[in-house]
Symmetry: C2
């Protein structure tokens, strides 16, 4: 009784997630397979890949997008909070860039409307890459290899922040992880999941997790309060969505993270406080659903979650075009 | 007269480089093409590639081998000196890992006999990755994906520092850059170089650069004093080979760096003081050869040096096996 009531509250709170509609879609499951990527501008993707790996977009010449969204590590840094310029401690856990295109907005508080808007953030954040858009553009435009890549991608060799962030976003849009075992199950391969994993999925649905973790990304499509039933004592100072809307009701509301590849994206929550999936499932059960999962139930849900690991993006590491004599040199120590 | 005398002094100083023998080899050129790689243990190479990219070999979980020997940037970090744990400023410029297998020893002072011995250095250096061999082994051995990779590479899943560094070295041995335009010229394609580039090579030989920069790596096979004719005022506190031999005569003797891919491995010298090839050629001419190259001569040599950029290693970025619940978590801030 108590549990059902809480589920209803949660569903009601899902302003951005028409759960009923989602449930009705496709084969009736609230989670859909990751759709295939269609690349419309391959030259922009190639350029964006170079920029994503290029630490020259940071003041130090040491930090690239890939430093905190490491594509060898589930698109995350596997740190509680990230390390920025001068070894500054970031205020929040770096979300994965994998399948980020499915998010309703970017950052934990949704302050960037899309991947392009997001890409400009860390470059200019004094606690992250500590550069500026102007300096990043001025650096990139001196590099002949980049100018020709901009020409291929955009028809002229003009470098500006709009094109630069568009190219990074074009690359990031390709970072999807199809063909997880769960997706194969969704598509009809009933042998793709073990009975324990399937039982975990049933429990995931029945206990209400799916109210917020649904859609192709199994999350990413709504903001929710962290700590619905029980208060959550975060180790991060971040207050979530209120920073964007200014509404007190949005305090401690965060974007629901995707659970795709969650096996790879530890530690968990906006404050990175949960080191393991077992801890994360336990905490979520308690603070969001008012439910204490037994060890068996927890293990079952964890087994299901691990079936969400998809095919990781695979591509040759880009060779970055060398700086020219005129290229500004990194300033890591001043 | 003065110049010839200095060349003789340089050649005499080349204790580790039988220049005459080198000159007599092959087609009579003092530089030989990069030989092809033969991989004897592909599973060890794959394991080593994962370890090379894995920041869990550092205390912070943020610094991997690739942080300072970035394979997107000529196997270097393109910084004057590297950034270590806690944003410490390294004492010396990070040498490229590309073609490092051809070096007579590793590090600028040659303190590691080979790549395997080198690989253990940064992991345990408090100013670099700031971990220890024991902690690195204890971390890796908790990761199931690594245990199976060790089994494939070495026949059992035992993880120890000997195997760990051997695997990294096995990967690094594959990091060669064949098929540069200069190598194509060496192999008989006379159209591979422009007349300016060829003139640059002739000047490189005639002016004595080749006394130390010879062999397949165009360097890496001898120790030489930095500042033969003129004293060199280094911005680095490193004193070179004396740290290994204890002999005062070895003070400011450094391993001659490879010039392969030198277009990509700026800034130059053990102290990273030269930002551009033009500066580097000018300084080398003055302090090693007592020669002031004219602007035209300098440009010609630089044009030749850029023909030494070979085919960069190309492979899919590895997907790192996820940590298990028992894996120690990184400690970036304490």
């Amino acid at each position: 009784m108590s549990f059902k009531l809480k589920t209803v509250i949660l569903i009601t709170a899902c302003a951005f997630t028409p759960v009923a509609a989602t449930l009705a879609a496709g084969n009736g499951e609230p989670i859909q397979p990751i759709p295939a990527v269609r690349v419309s501008n391959p030259a922009a993707v190639e350029l964006g890949k170079m920029l994503f790996f290029d630490p020259r977009l940071s003041k130090s010449g040491f930090i690239s997008c890939n430093s905190c969204h490491n594509l060898s590590m589930g698109g995350s840094d596997n740190l509680k909070s990230s390390i920025g310029h001068g070894w500054q401690k970031g205020p929040i856990n770096a979300p994965t860039v994998l399948n980020a295109r499915f998010n309703l907005a970017q950052f934990w508080d949704g302050r960037a409307a899309d991947l392009k808007a997001q890409a400009g953030g860390p470059i200019a954040n004094p606690g992250e890459m500590a550069y500026s858009h102007e300096l990043a553009v001025n650096t990139v435009k001196t590099i002949p290899g980049y100018r020709s890549a901009f020409r291929k991608a955009f028809g002229s060799d003009e470098v500006n922040i709009d094109r630069l962030t568009q190219a990074i976003a074009s690359f990031e849009e390709t970072l999807v992880t199809p063909d997880s075992r769960f997706d194969r199950w969704l598509k009809g391969d009933k042998k793709a999941l073990s009975s324990e994993e399937l039982a975990g999925y049933m429990l995931f649905k029945d206990s209400g997790c799916v109210a917020c973790h649904n859609g192709p990304a199994v999350g990413g499509n709504s903001y929710q309060r962290m700590g619905v039933v029980e208060a959550y004592k975060a180790s991060s100072p971040a207050e979530g969505r209120v920073a964007v809307t200014g509404k007190d009701a949005d305090r401690f509301n965060f974007k629901v993270p995707t659970l795709r590849n969650v096996e790879l994206t530890y530690p968990y929550f906006h404050d990175g406080a949960a080191n393991t999936l077992t801890e994360a499932v336990d905490t979520m059960g308690r603070v969001q659903l008012g439910r204490k999962f037994s060890a068996d139930e927890n293990a079952r849900i964890v087994a299901f979650l691990k079936t969400l690991t998809g095919k990781q993006p695979s591509f040759a590491m880009p060779t970055l075009p060398p700086s020219a004599d005129a290229t500004p040199r990194p300033q890591p120590f001043n």
